[in-house]
Amino acid sequence: MNAHLLTARAALLAAATVLGPLVMTGCSAPEDESVLTVYSSRQPHLIEPLFDKYRAETGVQVRYVNDEAGALLHRLEAEGESTAGDLFLTVDAGNLWQAAESGYLQPVESDVLERNIPDHLQDPDNRWFGLSVRARTIVYSTERVSPDDLSTYEALAGEAWRNRLCLRTSKKVYNQSLVAMMIHQHGEPATEEVVRGWVRNLAAPPFANDVAVMDAIKAGQCDVGIVNSYYFGRMQKDDPDVPLALFWANQDSEGVHVNVSGGGVIAASDNPAAAKALLEWLSGDEAQSLFASLDLEYPANPELMAHPIVEAWGDFKPNPINVSKAGALQTEAVKLMERAGYR
């Protein structure tokens, strides 16, 4: 048999193997106009109940893709005008700032959003809006630490906390935002000093997450840490007698570092009006309360009550500087923490 014929057949077989699945699935990309597509890096169990409710109220079906914020941003970049995404939902002002700066989000003029969401929790150019608020503050052992000894994030760099501090890894965006905000307020040299002090005071190498930080404090490996409020809330919900408490940091100065989860309408959306309507609905009383209580966060709308567990922690003064400042300085924060040896 002719060798060329045979190789041609082999090539054909290979091509068929590769292209077969394309014929099955590729050409039938579903594009239903009445379906709204959300690109989300929020956990499904937090957003699914909301989308179900929205569908029940309005008849609009919402489907979502969940992935890391960075991967979703790249997806928007690669898909360009052809993207299926209508609304972008993520956590952290840094991610929202990056999405807006890269041009993936469009400005939304909405009286509803302006009324519901305070100015410092939204993009100055209206490309994204915060939907829930989380405080990143100090957590301490009620058995070994008196709240009188605590004051600010910066003070945790002092001698008194040598071998008593536990922190989550600097790779988590929440720490990047906190440090970025400190850079905004104190400048780089002073912030680097503080971060170096934290690193000196660590009782254990940085942990992979905030839950592990609190477990370590509970077990006595260290006495204080910095965590997002809802992680503590979750722990308290499971164990109301947990010997840990939150301390509102920097109350005599700028206030507690707050961050947001939020969203914006994707610039290349085929259906920006529907996306805007969903965003407005998410800022409304009912959705806000549900959204915040599901994850023990604070509603972005200050008029609304949080979950009773969260309300029991008392009021605090939040840092009023627009959270987008943290986004702009995140890159500097990452580099600074790397230099300071904070892993």
């Binding site: 290979a14 990309a29 499904p44």
Partner: protein
């Protein structure tokens, strides 16, 4: 088969005319891995100046050392465990041998990131083990810290040793007895025969397995990030998601590709130009019966390995999972389990076919260009998942956007099953290729020449001669791919079509926010799913 070609003269393959067709096939198969690699290499040094200076000055020196040190540790750990276990199981007979033979493969079904969160949960300062020690022996009591270099190496060795075990066991099963006989005729004891005869003979297979382990280690993100151990992959993530610089991520990935290329060359150099000729019909193997203390030792050592690598972690997962049973939506999980099996099976099927074709094409057509395409096709395994995903996602998304604008078609090729399988092929072709190639080596030139002299050549010969002899390698390759696809997280997250969430996606949803207990149930389901191919492979082997 590389080895066979090293010795093959231009006239050796009579009737197997080299042709451009085979070469074209080779390059076509190299495309899914080659395209991302080329995209990555083009980005070398292509990041924003500030980011580049930071990466080269602050990040690179540290992660380079960390990464090489980690790969060395895991290669040694997994290599020793896998080789020793394979030797015991393949050559000796002792109580429980039949059980160990297949059970030792099971840790393969436990994803590294799952093993990591179980190990840290159990053994860190705040975990139950150390807490109990402190309660008994006072506050100073404790274990060496698990979140350390030693801890990462241990965890990764435990989940990766089956790659070496599977491949080495096959090698020992065909040669081990003979090696012992040769050793005995030279007056060597069992261990000396192992060291001086069997081990050198099995070297290409062991090296192949260790290379897989090394590449898997290089590409790992989940395990090292659970330990907060910084490597190339964590730096790539940090550059992309923290510094918002995909260019910087690609710059680091380009260097990672260079390291992998060096590793592959090193492995080839280690193999040398030797050719291993295995007799066509090895005698049915009679294992040496171990008695008394020796049998007990073998049994105890393998039990310990199995308990630490599989029983304990799965028991802990099950314990967590039971506590969460009421909280989770079972339909969501069973749907994800179904998707996982479908995707893993489709990918395994596709990829072994591609691996078989690649191996055969490479045999039909020697030469530098063909060697290069094979290398390229098999380098994808060491690329971190997201980097490979970007390399396939971006051109397909561009193509869809172009079709959308120019032809007014509504396409999103980048999130179809086709694209997902293509990305899996780019990533896992090596995994199937290694055992297939090991089997191809055993098909001698003489067999091919006999076939062509009977007028059965080329493609038909592949079906009549190669395929039947390749079955073992194809089955091993399919198993490895199935298990790897099942555990795969970043590519699946980025490229899965709507409704194709897998168990790994479910695990991600929970672990991303530190909810280990909730992640346990999908993790247990994932491990159970992993039983499937291991059981099939075992049943096949028992025949």
């Amino acid at each position: 088969m590389r080895l066979a070609l090293a010795r093959r003269g231009p006239r050796a393959g009579r009737g197997l005319k080299p042709s451009a067709g085979w070469l074209g096939l080779g390059w076509l198969l190299a495309l899914p891995a080659g395209l991302p690699i080329v995209i990555v290499l083009l980005h070398f040094g292509g990041a924003e100046p500030g980011v580049l200076a930071h990466l080269n000055g602050q990040v690179l020196p540290r992660v380079l050392g960390n990464t090489l040190w980690l790969v060395a540790g895991v290669a040694i750990g997994a290599g020793l465990l896998g080789t020793a276990a394979a030797w015991l199981v393949a050559v000796y007979d002792f109580p429980g041998r039949g059980l160990f033979a297949w059970a030792l493969l099971l840790p393969m079904a436990v994803p590294g990131y799952v093993m990591a969160f179980v190990a840290i949960g159990l053994l860190d300062y705040a975990g139950p083990v150390q807490s109990a020690l402190r309660a008994w022996l006072g506050p100073q009591a404790g274990l060496p810290p698990i979140r350390s270099y030693g801890g990462v190496v241990l965890v990764m060795s435990l989940v990766l040793y089956p790659y070496v075990y599977l491949i080495a066991r096959n090698a020992f099963a065909t040669q081990g007895r003979r090696a012992l006989e040769v050793g005995a005729s030279l007056g060597l004891g069992a261990f000396a025969s192992f060291r001086k005869v069997a081990l050198p003979l099995a070297r290409p297979w062991i090296a192949g397995g260790v290379l897989l382990v090394a590449m898997e280690t290089l590409a790992d993100f989940g395990t090292v990030s659970a330990f907060n151990y910084d490597t190339f992959t964590t730096a790539i993530y940090q550059s992309w998601f923290g510094l918002f610089s995909l260019g910087g991520a690609m710059h680091l990935a380009a260097m990672l590709v260079a390291i992998v290329a060096l590793l592959v060359l090193a492995e080839q150099a280690l193999r040398g130009r030797a050719r291993y000729n295995v007799g066509r019909s090895p005698q049915p193997l009679k294992r040496l019966r171990l008695r008394g203390g020796a049998a007990l030792c073998a049994c105890a050592a393998l039990s310990l390995l199995l308990i630490v690598a599989f029983v304990l972690p799965v028991a802990q997962l099950a314990f967590w999972a039971v506590g969460e049973l009421g909280e989770l939506s079972m339909p969501r999980l069973t749907e994800a389990a179904g998707n996982t099996v479908m995707l893993a099976a489709a990918a395994a099927l596709l990829i072994v076919v591609l691996a078989g074709l690649l191996g055969f094409a490479r045999r039909m057509q020697g030469g530098f260009a063909m060697r290069l395409s094979t290398r390229l096709a098999t380098l994808g395994y060491a690329l971190p998942g997201p980097v490979l995903a970007v390399g396939i996602f971006t051109p397909l998304a561009g193509l869809s956007a172009w079709a959308g604008a120019g032809l007014n078609w509504s396409l999103s090729l980048q999130t179809t099953l086709f694209a997902l399988l293509l990305a899996y092929a780019g990533r896992f072709l090596t995994v199937a290729h290694a055992p297939v190639e090991a089997n191809l080596q055993r098909i001698t030139r003489a067999m091919e020449e006999a076939s062509t002299s009977l007028g059965i050549g080329g493609w038909r010969m592949f079906g009549r001669v190669h395929l039947p002899l390749l079955r073992g390698g194809l089955a091993a390759g399919a198993t490895l791919v199935f298990v790897d696809v099942m555990k795969e997280m970043p590519i699946t997250l980025m490229m899965r079509p709507y409704g194709w969430d897998t168990l790994a996606v479910r695990i991600y949803e929970f672990t991303a926010e530190g909810r280990w207990e909730q992640a346990a149930l999908p993790a247990v389901l994932l491990v159970i799913t992993g039983f499937l191919p291991v059981a099939l492979l075992t049943l096949r082997g028992e025949k």
